[in-house]
Every structure is written in C-alpha cells, then in structure tokens.
Symmetry: C2
Subunit: 409 residues, 2 copies
C-alpha cells in the first residue's frame, strides 16, 4: 500500500502536529501549575522540549505556523473583548511614555553592547532593534488567566504594547533603510503616519461604529450564530487592514476585540474561548519550537548571549519602569515586568535581519535565545509583581482562582 503510506504521511501531518504540540503543551502546563508556576511557561517549554534541540519530535512546519498565527490573533482578540476603549484611552499618556522609554533604552543598550563586543555596525543596530519588540501576547495571557486585565497596570501594559508595535515598526523601517544604504525619510514618515493613523482611528471610532451598526445588521439576519459570524468577519478584516497599514495582525485583532467589547453577547465570548483554548497553545509552544541553539556553541557567543539577555531584561525593566514611575512604585514595577517578554516579535526582527544578510547566523541565534528566554522569565516575575493585586470584579472574574487559562464572561 505504498500510495496509502504516502497519503498517510501528508494527511497525518495535521493531526500529528496537533497531537504532539497540544498534548505536550497541556501536559507541561499541568506540571507547572502543580509546581505553583504559571502554566504558560510550561506551554512554551513544551515547544523547546519536543523541538529540534531536545527530543526532536517536531520541527516548525506550515501547519504549526498557521495555527500559531491564528492562536496569537485569537489570544489578542479575546483580550480585546475584555477591554473597553475608553479605559485604554485614559491611560494613553502614561502608556506612550512607557512605550517610548521602553523602545529607546533597549535599542541603545543592545546596539551599544553589540558594538562594544566588536560586531559590525549594521548588525549591532539590528540587534538593538530586535530588543525593542514587546510580545504582548505572553503578558496578556498571564494577566487574563488571573483575572487581572482590569487593573490599571494591565491597561497601561496593553496600551503601551500597542504603541510599542507602532514605534517598533518605525525603528525597523529606519534600520532596514540603513541596512540597504538609503534612508527615505518621506517613506518612513508615511509608514509612521499610516500605522499610527490606523491604530488611533480604529481605537477611537471602532467601538462607536460597531455599537451603532452591528445591532442593525444583526437584527436583520436569519442565520444562526450571526453575531459570531459578524465578529469573526471584523476580526479578519481588521487583522488584514493592520498588516496593510504596516502594524502586526495582532494589533488589528486586539482592536477588533476592543471595538466589539461593548456590543457582543456572552455567546460570542464563549465561542471565541473555544477557538482560543484550542489555538493559543500552538502560539506558545511555537515560540519555544523556534529556539535555535545550533550556533550557540563557542564560549564567546555564549557570553554575548548571556550579556544580551541580561541587557534585554534590564533595559526594558529600567526604560518602562521609569516611564511608569508616576503610577507609584508597585504599578511601575508591574508595568516594567509586563513589557519584558520579546516572544515572537523579537524573532521576526531577527529573521528580517537574517534574510537581508546583515545579521550572522550566530547573532540570529542569540536574538532568538533572548526572545525565548525573556518570554520564559517574565511570567513568574509577573506572578510575583501582581501578588498583592486582587482579581478585578470585571466580567473576567468569574473564577478569580482560575489559573492558566482565560475564561470570559
């Protein structure tokens, strides 16, 4: 049955990839929860363990990439559903300072260390750019799972992460032009205006528009689950527009959730939860799966990796902490820790550098290591920083003791 074997191979890819990643992520989440650690760390670590460098059961593939893209999209959408735009706007000023300081300090520190180590100029600048990224998904998942999305610190983190994405885009545009040897300030200004325009416009007017038109459309629909169909359509449309505007799809997903936060029933939240429960582990384990250790062999590279990791932690911590100092020490600490994980965003910048040929494979490995490591370190620190915060009595607080997974409604 040669043809069956061949067909089984390709047909088996979907369930095989899903079984290995999902089951190992959930198993390790269970183990970590039992040890009193955030389950999310177990899920990321599951990717590292089944990945190429430990057990070698699973390598990144198309199925996992697509499910991971969808997973982080639904993660941010679900978080958006719990956040009212007005509340985010209120902390906009603080968030902007946090985001800006959280971009400048890591960028300069990464660049400086890399240059002092004797790396080429463009490579050093790219390393700095990769340190700018913030993976809001990781922090959002931790906060949502503990019912803390309604705290002031959580709102500042979410708003700052969105702004950070726009600033990161500008930094990346600048750095890439530098690498190509020609900077077009007009292009960069246009990029910035488009990205900022899209984000501010949707955040400001999205909810109002949805509240106004959604009930009308919905009341005229005969289709079952029509509201969910409308919500999904908005999610995909805004994710797509976000990409065309230059920001990440997840910014669009978050804005879509936020726009819908005051307009949808509990039923939509329940259905969304189902999708997120299934797909988020693929995003988390996917971060771990991409860990690339094959170039981290000699002592000098390892030392630089350690230094870059320390700088990644310290620079975001100092930058964002100082930016948020006006909120008081406790909240500033929380914001600072919440901005630490680089996750998939740091990796994307490194991949661009690698593809442009301005980043050596060893430096790529260092940046990916830094991205995964900050992502693993942040959740336990977040747990500590938010130790004294009571779970908010918002719609998310159905189970304040509920750890590891978000429950909405």
């Amino acid at each position: 049955m040669a043809f069956l074997a061949i067909d089984a191979g390709s047909a088996a890819q979907v369930p095989l990839s899903m079984l290995v990643i999902f089951a190992s992520a959930k198993l390790l989440a269970e183990v970590f929860e039992r040890l009193g650690q955030p389950g999310i760390v177990g899920e990321i670590l599951a990717g590292v363990i089944v990945g190429p460098h430990v057990l070698g059961w699973m390598a990144p593939n198309d199925v996992l990439r697509i499910l991971s893209d969808l997973g982080v999209m639904f993660l941010l959408f679900r978080v958006g559903l719990e956040v009212k735009p007005a509340e985010l706007m209120k902390v906009g000023g603080t968030a902007f300072v946090v985001a800006l300081a959280g971009v400048i300090v890591p960028f300069l520190m990464g660049w400086g260390i890399s240059a002092a180590w004797g790396q080429p100029r463009i490579e050093s600048i790219f390393t700095g750019a990769a340190m700018v990224a913030t993976s809001v998904g990781i922090t959002a998942q931790v906060l949502a799972s503990r019912g803390l999305l309604q705290t002031r610190a959580a709102r500042v983190i979410l708003a700052a992460a969105v702004i950070d994405d726009v600033l990161g885009l500008i930094v990346l545009a600048l750095v890439s032009s530098l690498a190509r040897g020609s900077i077009s300030y007009l292009d960069i200004a246009l990029t910035a205006v488009l990205a900022l325009g899209f984000t501010v416009f949707v955040a400001k007017f999205g909810a109002r528009t949805v509240r106004r038109y959604m009930p009308r459309v919905q009341n005229n629909m005969v289709l079952a689950e029509g509201q969910f169909a409308l919500a999904m359509t908005l999610l995909f449309a805004l994710s797509l527009l976000a990409i065309y505007a230059g920001v990440a799809a997840i910014v669009g997903a978050f804005l879509a959730g936020m726009a819908l936060s005051e307009a949808v029933d509990r039923r939509v939240c329940d259905l969304t939860n189902g999708v997120a429960e299934l797909l988020v582990p693929f995003f988390l384990a996917g971060v771990g799966l991409h860990l690339e250790l094959s170039n981290l062999t000699d002592r000098s590279t390892l030392m630089l990796a350690g230094l870059i990791l320390a700088a990644a932690l310290v620079s975001k911590f100092i930058g964002c902490g100082l930016g948020a100092i006006g909120m008081g020490r406790t909240d500033a600490l929380r914001v600072a820790v919440g901005m630490v994980p680089r996750g998939e965003v740091g990796m994307v910048v490194a991949q661009i550098g690698l593809r442009m040929g301005v980043m050596a494979a060893s430096v790529y490995g260092i940046v990916v290591f830094m991205s995964v490591a900050t992502t693993l370190i942040a959740p336990p620190l977040l747990k500590l920083a938010f130790r004294s915060a009571p779970a908010a009595a918002g719609p998310a607080a159905a189970g304040p003791e509920d750890q590891g997974m978000v429950r909405l409604g």
Copy 2:
C-alpha cells in the same frame, strides 16, 4: 518599504484567506436561508463563486487546506458528541447492507458508463471507485443543524457512512493495485482487517474506556479547562490512528466524539462549537473552491459529465434505498438521499487517480464536478425527505427551529 510589502504579502495570507472565505460563506448562507434553502448550499457555492472559475478572488492554498481539514474533523467530532455508540450499534446490520449496496451499485454503474463511453479500462474502474465515496460531513451538518441526529434514519446514515469509508478504502486499495498492475490480496486483506479492526474496536470499547478513565485523570488535574484539553488530545490521537489504520481522519474524529459523548460536560460542547463555527465554513467553501471546470469545455466531455452526475445520483439512491427498504419507504428514502453527497471524498479518489497517471485531466474534472454537484443537490433533497420528521427531543434539540448551524447541549 519593499521588505514590508513582501512581509505583508506572506503575513496577509492567513487573514486574507480567512476573510474572503469566511465572510463570503456566511453571506451566501444568509442569502440561502432567506430563500428557504439550506445555508450549507450557500457556503459550498461561496467557494465556487470566489474560486478560480467565477470571481477568481481565491485559489486553494495551504492555509485553506489546513483549515478545511480541521473544519471537517471538528464537524464530525461535534456530530460524534451527539451520538451514543450503543444507538449506532443497534442499527449496524441495516447500515452494513446500506453501505454495501451503496458501494456496489455506484461502482458498477460508474465503471459501466465510463467503459461504454470508450474510456480506458483502468480509468473507467477509477471513475467507478470515485462514485463509491460518501461525504458524511455534508449530510451530518444538515441533520445536526435541524436537530435530526437522533432520528433512526440519521443513525443509519452515520453508521453506513463510517462502514462506507472502510469499504471505500478496500475498493481504492484494489483499484490502485490494479492500476499498478499487481494485486497483492494479502496486502489488501491486511488493510481491510486493520481498518475494520480499528473502527469496530474504538466504536465498541472507546466509550467504555473513556467513561472509566477520564474522570480519574480529570479529577487529578489542576489545569483550567482540563476536560477540553483531554477531549482535544483524544480527538487528535484517534484522527491520527485512523489515518495510520488506513481510514480517513474524520472517521477517527467521529469515533472520538462518540467515545466522549457520555463523558463530557456541556462546557466541552460549547468550546467545541466555537471551533466548529469558525472552521466548518472552510471545509464547505473548500469543496466548492476545488471545482475544476477548465477541462469541461467540449460537448462530449460535458455530456459524459452529465451522465456521470445522473449515475452518481441514481446509483446511490437506488443502492442505499434498496439497502434500507426494510425500514419502510419514508426512512429508506431519507437514507438514500443522505448518502448522495460525494464531497471531498470523491475528489480525493480522483486526485489519487490523477497522480497515478491513470486518470486524464478531463475525467478528473468530471469526477470533481460530480462531487461538488451531488454535494449541492443533496441538502435541499434532504430537507424535503425529512420534512415530516419532528426534531428529536435529544440534547441537540435546544433549538429545533434553529437552521443552518449546529448547536449542541
């Protein structure tokens, strides 16, 4: 920003594919429901319309293939959750006769017509084999959406479709060996035993095992949504084992759902519904998207296509109807109509024939046309056939008037 444009292209593929397919499927489902037609026909037709032959907005791609694979997996899993194994076993005898007659009559008729038309021998046999397939997903979705899964005819259809999958596998194995010129009866017997053994074993002992061990595992878990995590793990594991045993992943998915039907809470059904609501449209529109008309140009091919389509309708109708005649005329009619859609299963057989080089592109086009057409024709006929059936008072009957989408629990 050349690099951004490039990145936007690949990053945009996921939300772009999802937006076009999901939104058009739901839009046409809404239109069809308003016209009093099954929404499912609109969803399949949406794939035809946005596909290469009408608007040309979307061609089959990896994202859509993976989401479609997952969609039909979750469709059958959700149906399985509503079916108790004992109830299926009770109709096993009738279902076997229905499946067998529904394999033999279409096979001989397809082969005969194709041979009489002057097609090569192997190609004719392959055409016959493609007519054997039954796409249970289409019928199951129609019945589930109308709360009819608990009717006797629905149970016979589900059981017969599972048996049909095993019989179809044996036919395909035979036909493929013929095409390669060497038949190993031992191999085919082993294939049959393995496929049959897996299906019967899981159907018979799956539910008992799950009822016994699931509560123990679950009560020891600290993870939130632990039951859903266990259910998903079983779903992926049985889908994978099904493929290794030679049957389709959806048979494993259906068996997983059935094994869990007496062991899971409503919460698991709700979360599963969310996934299915999102993904099933990708399966349905995906069937339409694969319609291949470019070889259906000359008169002779078109006539053969019409003839094959008529034979596909009549042969399943007669074969399955006669097989079910012991149930009385009304139920026999329902079963006969329910087994008509060929959907994705017919296409898979044609693809194997095409890849093995024994099926011409024009005949491939005919088989795909037949698969899509039977799938579009069956839902309205099903609606008619089940006109007089009251929606069962089972767990699915939360909304008996609820059309177009399944609601569980």
